[in-house]
Amino acid sequence: MSLLPAVVALGDDALVLGQRLSEWCGKAPLLEEEMAMANTALDFLGRARLYYGYANTLGGRDEDGYTFHRDAREYTNLLLFELPGADFAAATARQFLVDAFDELHSAELANSADATLADIGAKVHKEATYHRCHSAAWMVRLGDGTDESRRRMQQALEDVWGYRQELFVNAPAEQPLVEQGILPDRAELRAAWQEAVATTLAEATLTVPAASWAVKGGRQGIHTEHLGVMLAELQHLSRSHPGAKW
């Protein structure tokens, strides 16, 4: 019975990060990276459409209903995905942590007892593996670049670090699905994630943050203040013309 909210939550993760990445269009530090960030954004938005599409077949709304006609309190994405990431260091650090997680999570999702989720997992795994290669390469390049770039990357890691904890928590609605083999057990992904992240950070000459702080609330709709502002921009046109077709 809890499959629908679990699927929507995965869609929300993908949507808000797709939106954040698309905000980089025209702002990337290199034209080549402009292309890459748009590709990644398109992959995340594509994922959101897959999850929302599946949610629709489970009796939920259509993709635009989920995207444009819910307020921030109804969004259930994890906080890490909605952070602004407004400078390239913050965007890169967040992306790397997400990609390292998605690579592990999607590999497990591909074995889901639910055939549709298994298909989505297999597709996401291909993308996430590539994304992780790309963002890990940036971590290394910027960590092991200039003094300034290392300082910026270390700071960005420290600033985002407390948001990683939510990745490894199964929400109450998800727990039964974990037990049925429909969703991966997030808690079990933690050790492999820590190892993967530590390996890249070592190569990047960056330090794994020592901080133990943790922020949570995304799956319960308790967000950062940033999400409401993002949704105001994302939704205003659609909501200004109720019922219009575009």
Binding site: P29, L42, G46, S238
Partner: protein
């Protein structure tokens, strides 16, 4: 030298492609650098007016399509910078020239994209005009430019269709949506006509470009071709072209238009368009914000030159990579 110049012209007259390693007159090289870099800058600056609407696109499908489209434009910028680099200038030099006002970009992008319908109008009108301009460039005498244009033209036709599709949805939509579409056409029509440049009689670059087969059709001829395509398309949309003098001329088989405001064009081309300062300031700001990243990439690559990682920036200064980039662009 006269002999080399004669032989060069003879090759052009035989419709042979000129390649980067071939001898060419300095004026030919300069003309191409000017034109190709202007074209590259137009693609990159052109990302701004539409790119500003990605975050606000009214449906998820439109958002994805628009993002992919604007991404294509960045890709066109890359091919074109690559083509320009085959003529011995670096991307950084070209961008500096734009920032200092020495190099131009298309005047059309100095107008603001105020509503969602503007995204449709830009795709429909501006991309249509670009296609009309660019199709003949696929036969330009300079090989790397001609080949870049082949790829670009294919993608532009998709862009044009997505723009027209947005306009069609608006034209069939609510009264407010139809009004939005008409308003966008009103504001984009005349600036689009100006994209083709001044009348041939007043164009300073035309005659030598014809002889070199960089250019094959006159500005007025291309403008007319665009008008003849766009007027019936507007009729299908049920929108009115904002020109009371517009009429069908059965004798010539063309639409005749009213007078273009060339004073406005001169103002915009001179850097006084409604968004001229904003567009350049944005581009400069992005370059400044990204400077630490590009510097780190270069330093990292230098540290690991023996290794296989950190390709881009190390590549920037090496001759072999310049060649590699040129190949990639053609």
């Amino acid at each position: 030298m006269a002999a080399a110049s004669d032989e060069f012209q003879a090759r052009i007259d035989r419709e042979e492609r000129i390649e980067p390693q071939d001898w060419m007159p300095e004026g030919y090289r300069r003309t191409l650098v000017r034109q190709i870099s202007q074209h590259a800058h137009s693609e990159v600056i052109g990302m701004q007016p539409e790119g500003g609407w990605i975050s606000r696109a009214p449906s998820l499908e439109r958002k994805v399509i628009l993002l992919a489209k604007v991404q294509d434009e960045g890709g066109h910028g890359l091919y074109l910078y690559g083509a320009a680099e085959t003529l011995g200038v670096s991307r950084d030099e070209l961008i500096d020239a734009m920032h200092t006002g020495k190099a131009k970009y298309s005047s059309i992008f100095n107008y603001p994209a105020l509503t969602w319908a503007d995204v449709g109008a830009i795709g429909w009108l501006v991309d249509s005009a670009a296609i009309v301009n660019q199709v003949p460039l696929q036969r330009c005498s300079y090989g790397p430019y001609a080949r870049a244009m082949m790829r670009i033209c294919k993608e532009e036709s998709f862009h044009q269709r997505q723009g027209y599709d947005i306009m069609l949805a608006l034209a069939r939509g609510s009264a407010a949506q139809r009004e939005m579409a008409q308003d966008a056409l009103n504001r984009w029509w005349w600036p689009t006509l100006m994209m083709f440049g001044p009348s041939d009689a007043d164009s300073i670059h035309s005659s030598q470009s014809f002889a070199w087969k960089i250019k094959r059709y006159g500005n007025d001829e291309l403008r007319q071709k665009f008008i003849d395509q766009a007027v019936p398309q507007a009729e299908v949309l049920g929108l009115k072209i904002p020109d009371d003098d517009l009429q069908w001329d059965a004798a010539t088989g063309h639409y005749r238009i009213g007078a273009i405001d060339w004073d406005e064009f001169q103002q915009v081309v001179s850097g006084n368009g409604p968004c001229s300062r904003q567009r350049l300031a944005h581009h400069r700001q992005v370059q400044e914000d990204g400077a630490w990243v590009r510097e780190a990439v270069a330093v990292h690559a230098a540290k690991h030159r023996a290794g296989s990682d950190g390709p881009k920036a190390a590549a920037r200064n090496s001759d072999t990579a310049q060649e590699g980039r040129a190949d990639a662009a053609v």
